[in-house]
Amino acid sequence: MFLLKTRKHHNRVRRLPGLITENPVLALGLALPFVIAASYSLRAALCVFTGMVVATLPTVLLASLTGSRLPAFIRTPVYALCAMALLLPAEALLTAHFPVILDSLGVYFPVLAVNTLLMHLCEKEELWGHPLAALRRTGLALAGFGAVMGIVACVRELFGAGTLWGMPVSWISWRIDALLFPFGGLIVIAFLAAGCRAIGRLLRGALYQSDQRLQRDMLRDAAHPPRPDGVDGTPISK
């Protein structure tokens, strides 16, 4: 089968696992509570994302260095306690800049230490013993998480509260309060996941159609090669 463009696209997106393909939130369903309940504003999303990065990156690095040496039963508590200890400086930093936001996040900031994205990455055996690969994989996953968190937070804050980054937006005259509640977050993420899937399928379908057209043109050119000379196709006599 002739799949030149499809394969190029496939190879391109596969180079960034976690960002587009295997997105931790939309594809794997990881770290959902934060995107559902804590993304009611952009500033809250930034606080959660900061905590997620501070807790996850060093813990996954630790896991990649020690994972194979630790017995299975002790790994998870070690990762969780390490991540929670790393959240302490993050909490101090964010309290200095966003005290009210951090207070309103409530339970959603401390539970970053036991989030499923962190546990999933720490338990990936293919990353054990490969710290650089672990850092790259974690960075992409966090970028994917941050992108989804940002989009959802923008939508919910804009159409739920009529503000962006706490500043009122003049052209929003209608507010949908339901977007600010957890069930609103669940519905938004469900539609976002379905929308991304549909767009991905449309894109792949369009590339496949384009490949088929290209193949038909190539086969037609091979069967009837174009004549080399003259305006009317007659060969030029020597």
Binding site: W174, R175, I176, D177, A178, I187, A190, A194
Partner: protein, 329 residues
Amino acid sequence: MTNAPPYIRQKDSCRTLTEDVLIVLFAVYFMAVYYYGARAAVLGVFSAGVAFLCDIVCKLLLRQRITLREHSSLVTALVIPLLLPASIPYSILAAAVVFALVVMKYPFGGVGGNLFNPAAGGFAFAAICFPRDVFAYPTPLERLDIFGSYAGRSVTSAAYTLKAGGIPSVGDFVEMLLGNVPGPMGATNILVVCACLLYLVIRGTVRWQGPVFFLATCAGLAWLFPRASMPGNESVMYELFSGILIFGAVFMLMEPVTSPKRPTGTMLYAVLTGVMTMLFRRFGGFEEGFPFALLLCNAFVPLFDLADELLHRKIRRARLVSSENEKAS
């Protein structure tokens, strides 16, 4: 074979069921127009128009065939305005209808696939987002402007007074039966709604077990645990006639897709919905808890059908064993 399946045909189809409901809904709209003027009818037509557009867009996206022979979205679109006051802004009504179809119905596959009642979902969405507009009612027989926002004096309904622990002063029993009390546009005309129930039960569109057991449960709980200091009979009257209890029992509780398929399961479902409705009304955050209770009970429907199946298997097994014992003896 030249015909398409199914080859076993029943005289009832999706279309005949929805046509029966549409006929009785027109009767309810007639009373709403009598009390609130032409705005009631225009709200219904507007809602139907929005539902038609949503249908077309969703069916195009889902690559389903667009047909005018299927009316389930029309039924949802006509039920939603009757749950709301006649003074509801058109934008809120449109939001409720769009939510009911685009979130509650089509992601689950469209007709026959929805797991939750779309009208209940649309009302719940509107009640959460716009409680001030949804729970403020014009006085009956006050002629409202067809277009534009309502500028008159809004009043609260009997359901609100009960929620606050008071005794409604809406008038006597006859006034409440005839619908001459403030409340949702279509839900206050108790007499007409009961006549609709009779018609639908006789036609076989609605199984009688659902509404009867549901209303009996609500009445029993209202009699045993009145929300204000009043006799049990008065409490039953006010609880049943306020809000959208009876209307919901007729038009929403026994929706063919979301309700149980078996009689015993239907009874269990109706009793549980009655209990949940009274709990939501007493302890819930809104004066009208029926749509929320219905959505929650829709999630339990497969368990009721399963319970019915297990119960009847036990009965059949017991009968088989006893008949075999008789034959052996």
